[in-house]
């Protein structure tokens, strides 16, 4: 995972090397997005005819033909594709077939809720996973380690729709502390953020544990201990930062997943996010909206990966340009 960043950053000339590395990344991102856009365009059209879903079953064939023509879906596929490509640089992603609104508008109104939930879930995940992973690494092979790891595994194994309903039943229905669903103040955020975080907790905590165990066994830690440094100093002063490299990569991927993969959580909590919008768009065969959503997810992953690569130069002096 880390290889490209390391090679790129190790390019000889200092500032220009980094610039060139970033430029290469951006260029390859554009190529990736082009292929994603193309794949999305053709794949979504395999799902069937949107007109069949927009019209009730008792529409006549003539009524279908009229609507198909006014939506431009009767034109040759290649003409539709070229139009779509031409619109991309201008961020003109077309009109939603169902909402009759520019898809960019439909999508952008969902971004705040999606980002809010992803950020909250990530915060919850880190707050639980970092202490849990660290604790488990220090208690390696002992009861504490097994207990914590079993705990996060249980969290990971429970499906979001079930955890969500369970949390709703306890905290909203029984205790009436928090709202059961919907979007609004911070109180609405708590239950979905916890539900969504549980999966990431396990991923991050387990990786941090193994990464920390590696670091704790290395020579410089033995030296640090030999100097008489206590556990706290060893962990916080020397180990965590060194163990964080793979963890940061995974957190980056988790951010991508949290931004796009909250479909079940969004459904259970009636959260107005992009995941739910995308599922509805797929069910409605709303081609332009599905295309735009796929591009959004792809772009999110590309940007997050770029940021992860750049973060290495901050975290690991060896990667930093000399």
């Amino acid at each position: 995972m880390t290889a490209p960043a390391v090679t790129a950053a190790r390019a000889p000339a200092a500032g220009t090397g980094l610039l060139r590395a970033v430029a290469t990344k951006v260029l390859s991102a554009v190529v990736v997005l082009f292929f994603v856009a193309t794949a999305a365009f053709f794949l979504v059209r395999l799902s069937g005819d949107p007109v069949k879903l927009i019209l009730p079953p008792d529409a006549t064939a003539e009524q279908e033909a009229t609507l198909r023509a006014s939506l431009g879906l009767d034109r040759p596929l290649i003409a539709q594709y070229l139009d779509y490509l031409a619109g991309l640089p201008r961020l003109d992603l077309g009109n939603s077939l169902v909402y009759d609104q520019p898809v960019a508008d439909v999508l952008l109104t969902r971004v705040p809720a999606t980002v809010e939930l992803a950020a909250a879930a990530l915060a919850v995940a880190l707050v639980i996973a970092i202490p849990a992973g660290t604790f488990a690494a220090l208690r390696r092979g002992r009861a504490g380690d097994s207990g914590v790891m079993a705990g996060v595994l249980v969290g990971q194994s429970m499906p979001a729709f079930w955890v969500g309903i369970l949390l709703i039943l306890v905290f909203a229905v029984r205790l009436q502390w928090l709202p059961a669903s919907g979007y609004g103040g911070i109180s609405h955020l708590v239950l979905p953020a916890i539900t969504l975080a549980l999966y990431s907790v396990a991923v991050i905590a387990r990786l941090l544990r193994s990464s920390l165990i590696d670091v704790l066994g290395s020579d410089f830690i033995r030296t640090a201990r030999a100097k008489g440094l206590g556990t706290g100093g060893v962990v916080f002063g020397h180990s965590l930062r060194n163990a964080s490299l793979p963890v940061v990569t995974v957190i980056g991927l988790e951010v991508g997943t949290l931004l796009g993969g909250a479909i079940l959580t969004e459904r259970v909590f009636s959260w107005p996010g992009i995941g739910r919008l995308t599922v509805e768009a797929i069910a409605n065969r709303d081609f332009p909206l599905v295309q735009a959503a796929v591009l959004f997810f792809a772009a999110t992953f590309v940007v997050v990966n770029l940021l992860v690569d750049l973060s290495y130069t901050v975290l690991d002096p060896r990667v930093r340009v000399k």
Partner: protein
């Protein structure tokens, strides 16, 4: 040491961060259960309206919201009969014209008058292909013309006896021409203006849609002061929201979802007669189903009352054919098939299938329970129907495809004939040339033509009576049930839905 200082402060920051999460959570608790909400009615249904432009939607979920903002030319009274809406009277001066006399003095929420010109504009806008309207009922209407300020004619290309019923929902909505010219289609969809009992306040898609009572509505101000629609795709969490007092009414529940909440204090399940009618379509072109004795056998084998009791928790009513009781054309003299497995077996043996036969029953995945139960009932008579489940998109694509066998020999279908006229139930699947028809009968074609093309109700009723007798005799379908409208409420709202089940909340009351 400077190094350890940084570490300490980082740790402090972490610790503070850790404390902040529960603190925020506790801060949020105060807002969770709202105290008083006098005059407020919060209604949850499975989704938001697709658009707020009434001409650009054709589904009941959207109509459920828009019927509160817009009025239609006709409407349904408490007894489900056609009643005056924006039109006070209507007649058919000749077979190709329907004349509507409009209610004087009605104004849109922006003050614009709702007159014959507005109706003319609305109908023509709906028919214009550029509007891309999914509303299909006005297929024979060619144009509308204002005769005078309060009289408007709808012209049709062929006689259409049920135009007044067809303008009681979707196609009957009247929109403001001047406002549309000012703000354009997109502006209108963002902030709709109608004549209805509620005015639009705001809409955040997938979050909430708020409406406020229109004090100058021609029927008088509704009792509900603020009406909020909440989209809740998951019935379990919608019902949880009802229990935690975030919603007052959860609409359109399935019987099994309703069962989840039965017995909880402060929450009750209401079911009212509905008209969504289910049946099995049989491919009568060849194979065992080409034999009328086999088709009758299937009708005798599927024990509909048992199906209703066991799978639908009793929340449905058996129908003799596919025309529900409340629809024009229903003839109570036509009775449901007797349920008799022995008779079914005898009929199958007579037709040459003493050991039954193998077939497929296709259904939407959402109807899995019903389909499995029907398959089980058929098995008692020896008919082994393998259940094949499809996602709704694939199902509806095949239902309306040119290949009439795309859904296999037998499929489970349902139809909501909101016009409350038998025509809506038989228009796509009985006459041999219609797209969902899998049966050829010259007699049926003649009767469908008679009810579709003659205006006088008495003649149409005769055609429907004969058609139902023929349907029962020839059994080109397995007739099932009309399902109830089911919703859950807390103890605040009082509301009686009509048989169509549309969420018109002008008649609802909540404590002030």
């Amino acid at each position: 040491m400077p190094g350890s200082r940084t570490h300490l402060s980082r740790r402090d920051a972490l610790r503070l961060g850790g404390l902040a999460v529960p603190a925020f959570a506790l801060a949020g608790c105060a807002g969770a259960s709202a105290g008083s909400h006098g005059g407020l009615l919060r209604v949850a249904q499975s989704a938001d309206p697709k658009t707020l432009d009434p001409h650009k939607q054709g589904d009941m979920t959207s109509m459920n919201v828009l019927i509160n903002v817009f009025d239609t030319l006709t409407t349904r009274g408490a007894d489900n009969t056609l009643a005056p809406g924006l039109a006070t009277a209507w007649e058919s001066p000749d077979p190709l014209t329907w004349r509507f006399h409009l209610r004087p003095g009605v104004r849109f929420h922006n003050g614009e008058p709702c007159d014959a010109r507005a109706v003319e504009f609305s109908i023509d806008r709906l028919l214009d292909p550029a509007t891309k309207s999914p509303i299909v009922e006005l297929r024979y209407v060619t144009k509308a013309t204002a005769v005078d300020e309060l009289t408007v004619d709808l012209h049709t290309s062929q006689p259409d006896p049920i135009i007044p019923a067809k303008v009681s929902l979707f196609g009957g909505v009247v929109v403001p021409p001047r406002y549309l010219a000012e703000v354009g289609d997109a502006g209108f969809a963002r902030h709709p203006v109608g004549t209805g009992p509620f005015t639009f306040v705001d809409f955040q898609r997938d979050h909430q849609l708020r409406l406020r009572a229109n004090p100058s509505h021609w029927r008088g101000a509704p009792a509900v002061r603020e009406l909020v629609f909440l989209p809740m795709p998951d019935p379990s969490s919608a019902l949880a929201s009802l229990q935690s007092d975030e919603v007052d009414l959860v609409a359109n529940l399935t019987p099994d979802a309703a069962l989840q909440i039965e017995g909880y204090r402060g929450v009750s399940i209401r079911n009212h007669p509905g008209i969504r009618t289910s049946y099995l379509s049989l491919d009568t072109t060849d194979g065992p189903l080409a034999d009328v004795r086999v088709r009758r056998a299937l009708n005798h084998a599927v024990d509909v009352p048992l199906l209703i009791e066991a799978v639908l928790d009793g929340k449905a009513r058996e129908v003799p054919t596919m025309i529900p009781r409340e629809s024009f054309g229903f003839d109570p003299a036509v009775t449901p098939f007797t349920r008799d497995v022995g008779l079914a077996k005898r009929l199958l043996a007579e037709a040459g299938y003493p050991d039954g036969f193998d077939t497929t029953l296709t259904a939407q995945a959402t109807d899995a329970n019903t389909a499995e139960a029907i398959s089980g009932l058929l098995a008692r008579a020896g008919v082994r129907a393998r259940v094949s489940l499809l996602d709704p998109g694939t199902y509806s694509g095949r239902l309306t495809s040119d290949n009439r066998r795309a859904l296999g020999p037998m499929y489970l279908a349902a139809s909501t004939g909101w016009t409350l006229d038998g025509q809506s139930l038989v228009q796509s699947n009985v006459r041999h040339d219609r797209r969902q028809s899998r049966w050829t009968s010259a007699e049926a074609d003649r009767l469908v033509d008679a009810e579709e093309l003659t205006i006088p109700p008495a003649q149409r009723q005769r055609a429907f009576t004969e058609l139902q007798q023929l349907l029962k005799r020839e059994a080109p379908f397995v007739f099932l049930y009309q399902i109830d409208t089911i919703y859950a409420v807390n103890d605040r709202p009082r509301w009686e839905p009509g048989v169509v089940g549309v969420l018109a909340m002008a008649s609802a009351t909540v404590p002030a």
